[in-house]
Symmetry: C2
Subunit: 332 residues, 2 copies
């Protein structure tokens, strides 16, 4: 492997001069620079970024720690992050977190000395548990975490607001017995969505004990939720599912049971996955710009790495919007 030493030797200069020339510093004789560049090209010299990071004390690398995410969600958020990180001439180090908080904490520690900053999305544990607030600190921005968790800057979709939006919409459309299909109870997003649902149902309908069917966000959960509702012959005129995937399955199951969607029973979801527009009737849902979470999170982190103190600007809440479609009634 050819090192800068060898380039210097071939060009007949010191490594110091070679380094300066290769990094485009001004104080190098133009003719000397030529010799060095020629030598580097001829030897096919490629700088060793690892060593470079060590001396410069920066890696130009951003660490990203995400949970196990479903298709679109994962790629969209990465796309957002990559867009801004790439433009800043940096690169991404990926650390998925399957498994326990301990394992995740391990993954985070392993990033020490490889990254300048961290983007962490902790779906079911808080910053302290992950060792983000300990003695060893690395600039970190939380994505979709509990706001104000550990005092760390964050970018988050307002799940609570989104849930309120959609529940209020169901009420406005005349629903009075709304069922909620919940997500995993250890998931922050799921809890916030359920909270928004409960609050609106209580405020608008005076219902303090609405029916909540458990779910887990995954394949199959919507189906079982529908069956369970059907089996116990629950009385309901609307369903708010904590995510679209479950909503879509539930719709299929209800329709098979002879229920007319969009009139007899209104259905709404959360996430606005591409599928939502393709089912019949199209699914009313909460749209949140997830790419935005990546973009804003990365931008925020970059600013912090530049030494800026974001202050209140380090607490970003992204407001979701309601996408009204056929599953909650005919277009107005």
């Amino acid at each position: 492997m050819v090192t800068i030493r060898e380039v210097a030797r071939v060009a007949g200069v010191s490594v110091a001069t070679a380094s300066r020339a290769l990094n485009g510093l001004a104080n190098v004789n133009v003719e000397t620079r030529g010799r060095i560049e020629a030598a580097a090209a001829r030897l096919d010299y490629v700088p060793h970024s690892g060593a470079r990071s060590l001396t410069r004390r920066r890696s130009d690398t951003i660490g990203v720690i995400l949970p196990d995410l479903f298709g679109e969600f994962f790629s969209e958020i990465i796309r957002g992050i990559d867009m801004v990180v790439h433009d800043a001439g940096k690169i991404l180090l990926l650390g998925n977190m399957h498994g326990s908080p301990q394992e995740t904490q391990q993954a985070i520690r392993a990033m020490r000395g490889r990254v300048d900053g961290l983007l962490v999305m902790p779906p079911n544990s808080d910053a302290a548990t992950l060792g983000l607030t300990g003695g060893w600190r690395i600039p970190t921005v939380l994505l979709n975490a509990r706001p104000y968790d550990g005092g760390l800057p964050f970018v988050t979709v307002d799940n609570y607001a989104g849930a309120r939006l959609v529940t209020e919409h169901l009420v406005a459309r005349g629903a009075t017995r709304i069922v909620h299909v919940a997500g995993p109870q250890d998931n922050n997003d799921a809890r916030e969505r359920e909270r928004g649902f409960r609050d609106v149902v209580r405020e608008a309908l005076g219902d303090t004990t609405p029916l909540v069917v458990p779910g887990d966000f995954r394949d199959g959960a919507g189906r079982s939720a529908a069956r369970s509702l059907l089996a116990r012959q629950s009385v309901f005129d609307a369903v708010f599912s904590a995510n679209d995937l479950m909503a879509v399955e539930l719709m299929a199951e209800l329709r098979d049971a002879g229920i007319v969607l969009g009139s007899q029973v209104l259905v709404a979801g959360f996430d606005d996955i591409p599928l939502a527009r393709y089912v019949t009737p199209q699914l009313t849902t909460v749209h949140s710009d997830i790419t935005r979470v990546g973009i804003d999170g990365a931008r925020l982190l970059l600013r912090i790495l530049d030494g800026e103190d974001p202050g209140e600007g380090g607490r970003l809440v992204i407001a979701p919007t309601l996408a009204v479609r056929g599953s909650t009634g005919p277009a107005e």
Copy 2:
């Protein structure tokens, strides 16, 4: 920032001993080890992986260079890679390649000294152009590239075979005038699919100049393809779209024009995206286990990094399968 030096000082030992203890080597007195671990814990010492990589001459990091991919595709392949890489105690460095081959080559060079090996998916350029075959070499496995490109090991989905499969299916279902909606011409996958289509159409129908409508794999292309077919009043009884996304859009457009899908016109796609099962009629398509590409590619690379010469085992072709659904006729 606390270094191993400090831990050693606090524990009253040399850095050498500290290093040995912290790395779990055997030749350390149990009591000494205790002191060192206690010191490390108290100081909240986290090893600097960058420095570690430099001395050990390995980073335990795998570089992944992918093009701009659509949702599912991207996440599935990353998931596959991550599964095996994670199990091997390694981590992923992500380098998306938007833009020119030059820019990509730059991204690849930037990985020198940060990764032990590379997984590269070059959709529209060959290994040589990307500098993968030059003087500076890093162990590399190609994903979904032209087979035998630069003599590098590869894992690839057999697009040609998949296209043959689906075209033969259309012929078997009685189609005689099959239109192909192609993908981008600079895309390897797209070219292979078109080639498979042309070969079967020629062999089975004797048609050497089938109608091929240009497309680009993206949103909108299926719609325009359909409109263009309708506008010029082409005669056709089947469409093979180079990917599902375009197929789904095309189906919607044809149906709006009053065409009965699955009988009047058969439609088939390629990729088997989740959406394919949710449209009506469900879309017949070619299913390729894309996660498998990630898994096998990563495994292959790991074996190479272990010093193994995979020989012929370093040339993996993954055979796609046909998923027959309603868009090519009633279930048999």
